[in-house]
């Protein structure tokens, strides 16, 4: 069976699209706070925050303590720490992540969020949607759809100068 060999997406080009998409979303709901999913999503949220000239700091959510694969994989090393510098009670939130796949990370992150209070609404914007959803979770903005085989993994990296790039890894290759 041949697996698709996609070209690695241009993360900077997709970031530009995400920036415009998020600008549009905030235009209709300006009281929305950005929350990045650790780690790639947190990088994106930090840069969006700066580029959009928003006040304060974006939130960071770690999914590590609510993952559903703890029994198989154990505690993820260096899973990051949740940092919400504002009250989320009654707050409109836009979650930011790099790659949307099964939806399990977002499920865990939403559980984590609820340990801090009850937001008014939660939406999701992502750089890449690679399909393969196992939960009913969708993004309101997606910069690109990419087809990947199950053993392929797309991971975002951030250079010292803050520029983003994607790396495509083959598991068990």
């Amino acid at each position: 069976m041949s697996s698709p060999t996609p070209t690695v997406p241009d993360a900077e080009a997709l970031y530009a699209a995400l920036l415009e998409g998020v600008r549009g979303l905030l235009g209709t709901a300006p009281d929305t706070a950005l929350v990045g999913i650790w780690s790639g999503g947190a990088w994106l949220a930090a840069r969006l925050h700066a580029d959009l000239g928003l006040a304060g700091e974006p939130g960071v959510l770690s999914s590590a303590l609510h993952r559903d694969d703890f029994g198989e994989r154990g505690l993820a090393a260096g899973g990051g720490a949740t940092k919400l510098g504002f009250a989320i009670e009654g707050q409109r939130l836009l979650l930011i992540d790099d790659v949307l796949y099964t939806g399990r990370t977002i499920r865990a992150a939403i559980n984590e969020l609820y340990d801090f209070g009850r937001p008014a609404s939660v939406a999701l914007a992502v750089l890449v949607d690679r399909g393969g959803r196992e939960l009913p979770i969708e993004s309101v903005f997606t910069a690109a759809h990419v087809e990947l085989a199950p053993n392929q993994r797309l991971s975002l990296a951030r250079a010292d100068d803050g520029r983003f790039s994607f790396a495509l890894e083959q598991a068990g290759a």
């Binding site: 899973g79 720490a81 340990d115």
Partner: protein
Amino acid sequence: MLSRRNPQLNRHGELIHLLSIEGLPKAVLTQILDTAGTFLSVNDRDVKKVPLLRGKSVFNLFFENSTRTRTTFEIAAKRLSADVINLDIARSSTAKGESLLDTIANLSAMHADMFVVRHSESGAPYLIAQHCAPHVHVINAGDGGHAHPTQALLDMYTIRHFKGDFSQLTVAIVGDIVHSRVARSDIHALTTLGVPEIRAVGPKTLVPGDLREMGVHVFHDMAEGIKGADVIIMLRLQNERMSGAMLPSAGEFFKHFGLTADKLARAKPDAIVMHPGPINRGVEIDSSVADGTHSVILPQVTYGIAVRMAVMSTIAGNEA
């Protein structure tokens, strides 16, 4: 030569039981300290609970009484959503003549997932770890004069929190070292984490002679022993030791080895003072020091819960 695998680690080198600090690699200790940092922030949330051990049963087996240590393990397990069963073994099965392994077999039949064991005999947690089902994890909560690994880890967390880095530190451990499983575990942890200067300070009768072989500097003069120290770990003087010929009196001990503000002035100006508790005011530590600005005794208690959460979630996530 036959090399025996460390019974605390699986074949991937991951921690499956916590029995002793001795023999654990630096990376394992550091990972627990990092994980504890994550759990410390759980205390700041509206919901002070995470679901990592949901559906798991943690049995606290305290063959030797220690309400405080048992409580910190209980809180840690409950914050991880485990079901906690406290067994006052000292007053039940053992009193009826049941052997340790029969007790464990019975509790395993009740579907235990984790045993937290405090025992007056050194090595009891090892025996349990060797004989329990493969999916069961064991934590040593203090065995005889041997080890108290979670206390050592919370001490290391405290030191790292206040001092940042281990590689430049002078750490003095003061008091009844010979009977102290805390001192033994602390020395192993400090050594593994790269502390260059570890000192043991106490009267000749209470400091074991073999410490020098572990690279520890021994002092029988308190003023000399804590001079220039960054960290002072005071040990509890156990009253029961007074009856033997080891010490003339509590007052005499305080005069020579009790930590007072005068003696503390010999340490670095930003030195921290630690104590595993419960403290004997006026025996090993003066009240003005225990409650003073150098004291981090209460933060130790807070960190202890996060460290025990880290240990429990780490071993529960690793398979034998």
